[in-house]
């Protein structure tokens, strides 16, 4: 029973990693850029929700929607202002710029909302679903349900819609996509908006289980590990990687000496990179001349 309980909290934690990892994958899939600031976008989303719901007093659902929309806007602004000039630059430069962006966003959050921890009011607080001896918090259920819905939604989007396929085309060859009439630049803006909105959803879902603070974005690094374990560029892989990392972490925290839980994600990552560098759902291959 205990094991099942840990498994469930692991799944819920894993879904958080998976949600953020999906943001990484989304941007990578469509723009071939790596956005290291995804965790910080999630943090910003959580703070936006805090502002809308706690300070401005909107309802939970309405505040949720306002958060998603405004974060979408933030995504567009970031893309236009910072990432657009970097199109065509080496991937290393883009990686560095998003790392810098992460630092800036954290400083902004610290300046606007302060560094003391806050908690987002939400309709789930303290409610627990009981199945036999198992007790699962509603907020954990919300995370799992939200992740499942988003994952399926994005999978269908990339598989069947014109826009989703155009995004994949833009990623595979920017120039060729441009020649066949795909508005590559607009697609990039859209992808960033989508990814930031996704981060906002993650932020709102995570806020009830963790506290709001500017450094909560560091979870993004673990999510990054999850994305790589799953195979960078694969949406189901991101979720699976997140689940693996989340569950392993919970078990390591219980059965191994202190310090191991904090490094589990990275150990898994290094092992994965050694054994199967392309990840579980491989979408990469060696570049040819």
């Amino acid at each position: 029973m205990e094991i099942l309980q840990i498994l469930i909290s692991g799944v819920s934690q894993g879904c958080v990693y998976g949600l953020i990892a999906m943001g990484f994958v989304l941007i990578y899939k469509a723009t071939e850029m790596v956005n290291f600031a995804q965790g910080e976008l999630m943090m910003l989303g959580a703070y936006f929700a805090y502002t809308f719901i706690n300070i401005l007093g909107m309802g939970y659902l309405f505040g949720f929607m306002a958060t998603v929309l405004s974060m979408g806007l933030v995504g567009v602004v970031l893309e236009r202002g910072i990432l657009r000039p970097m199109i065509g630059e080496p991937p290393f430069a883009v990686l560095m710029i998003t790392i810098g962006l992460g630092f800036v966003l954290r400083a902004i959050a610290g300046a606007v909302w302060g560094t003391e921890t806050k908690s987002l009011s939400n309709p789930f607080t303290g409610q627990v679903a009981r199945v036999g001896e198992l007790a699962v918090g509603y907020e954990n259920l919300a995370i799992i349900a939200g992740t499942t819905v988003l994952c399926i939604g994005f999978y269908l989007f990339f598989r069947f819609t014109r826009l989703g396929i155009a995004m994949q085309a833009a990623s595979q060859n920017q120039l060729a996509a441009y020649y066949v009439g795909i508005p590559v630049k607009r697609i990039y803006s859209l992808v960033w908006a989508l990814s930031a909105a996704l981060a906002a959803v993650a932020g709102v879902l995570v806020a009830p289980v963790s506290l709001l603070e500017p450094v909560m974005g560091f979870i993004g690094i673990k999510a990054f590990c999850a994305a790589i374990v799953g195979g960078f560029g694969s949406l189901p892989g991101a979720i699976l990687g997140g689940l693996i990392v989340g569950i392993a972490e919970q078990f390591a925290g219980l059965y191994l000496p202190p310090g191991f839980a904090a490094t589990t994600a990275y150990v898994i990552l290094l092992v994965m990179l050694l054994v199967r560098p392309q990840g579980l759902f491989a979408t990469m291959q060696q570049k040819k001349v």
Binding site: E32, V34, I82, P85, M86, I87, G88, E89, P90, P91, F92, A93, L95, M96, I97, I99, G100, L101, G102, F103, V104, R106, A107, I108, G110, A111, G114, T115, S171, Q172, N173, Q174, L175, P214, I221, F224, C225, I228, F232, G233, P257, P258, G259, A262, T263, A265, Y266, V267, L269, L270, L273, L274, P277, A282, T283, M284, Q285, Q286, K287, V289
Partner: protein
């Protein structure tokens, strides 16, 4: 613009390209040698810090700027160097030997990381080194018998031949000497076949391989050498700090080191020093700003990392060649005065073709 007509191979690999350079570097050498005469203790300490960062920067520059491999985890090598040095000192090793040993331990760690990560490039390598750095941080925090854990440990004084070199002017000269030796070693490496091989790998891995360069070997060497230099810097850093604790070697430190080589100018050794001066001066500048600015702005928590991030972004967008690149452009502008063409330094954009199958 000075054009040198080279008639001998020796001229091509000379450290100084012409007499003008010899003169100005000579002036610089005299200035840094007499610096303790006219600088007070504080500025001398800051200048020592510039040298320490520069040594780490030389290491990182070899890796990022010359071999084209990105490391987000160089703080780990700095930490390994610092702790190893402290440990060797406590075992009674003389100072130079201990520093050398710290560098070697760090280099071994670098080779250990470098070897398995060879198959990776770009983000994979970056994230693997980041993971390594975080694991090292945890090991330091929990391996109490050797590292002192979270409580940290006192670094033994740097006493060599009866002279205490841990602070003030003696420490300054220790740092200066180490920097010069490291710089010479790096420059020598770069004009040897191994160094040329690294540059070839940076420019094109495929063509380097087809020229008969052993990719795995060269990359491992680059990683080990880079970690080794950073380890030596770590040894000096330990004396500078005086007290070692895990929070001195976080991800922020790694990013700071990377910022240093990017802002200084990738692929140039003078760039390392520009970058080192930059990251030493910036916190001081911020500290002064804090007092003069209104409290609401000056007291923002995390102002320093935020500003570091902002500067990184601005440099990458507007001057990816760093301070060194800007300096080259300004010099060229004046030497070609009415005929300077902006397009000379136009950046080549490469539009991506994916590495993905589906």
């Amino acid at each position: 613009m000075r054009f040198i007509f080279k008639t001998r191979y020796q001229q091509d690999i000379d450290l100084f390209k012409h007499n003008g350079q010899r003169f100005w570097y000579g002036v610089l050498a005299v200035l840094v040698l007499v610096a303790p005469l006219f600088l007070d203790t504080f500025y001398l300490g800051e200048l020592s810090l510039v040298y320490i960062y520069a040594i780490a920067g030389i290491g990182l520059m070899l890796l990022v700027g010359y071999t084209g491999l990105v490391s987000l985890g160089h703080a780990a090598f700095l930490a390994i160097g610092a702790y190893a040095h402290s440990w060797f000192m406590r075992q009674g090793l003389p100072l130079p030997l201990s520093m050398l040993a710290a560098g070697l331990v760090s280099a071994a760690a670098g080779a250990m990381v470098g070897r398995p990560t060879l198959r990776m490039t770009g983000i994979y390598l970056a994230i693997a080194t980041l993971a390594f750095a975080i694991i090292v941080e945890q090991i330091i925090a929990h391996w109490e018998p050797v590292t002192g854990g979270f409580r940290g440990q006192l670094v033994p004084d740097a006493v060599f031949a009866g002279v205490d070199l841990s602070r003030g002017a003696p420490f300054y000269y220790l740092c200066l000497l180490s920097t010069v030796l490291c710089l010479l070693a790096a420059l020598n490496l770069l004009r040897s076949s191994s160094g040329r091989a690294m540059i070839a790998i940076r420019d094109s891995e495929v063509s380097a391989q087809s020229m008969g360069i052993d990719l795995a070997r060269t990359k491992t060497v680059a990683f080990a050498v880079s970690a080794g230099f950073t380890g030596v810097a770590g040894a000096l850093f330990a004396h500078k700090l005086g007290y070692l604790a895990p929070d001195a070697f976080t991800m922020l430190t790694s990013i700071q080191l990377l910022l240093m080589v990017v802002v200084g100018g990738l692929g140039s050794m003078p760039g390392v020093f520009y970058g080192a001066i930059f990251i030493v001066v910036l916190p001081q500048f911020i500290a002064i700003m804090r007092d003069t600015l209104p409290a609401a702005v000056g007291q923002i928590p995390g102002l320093e990392p935020g500003l570091f991030g902002l500067i990184l972004i601005l440099f990458l967008i507007y001057e990816p060649e760093g301070i060194r690149g800007r300096w080259v452009k300004i010099r060229q502008f004046f030497s070609e005065f009415p005929l300077y063409r902006k397009a000379t330094h136009k950046r080549q954009k490469s539009y991506l073709r994916t590495e993905r199958v589906r």
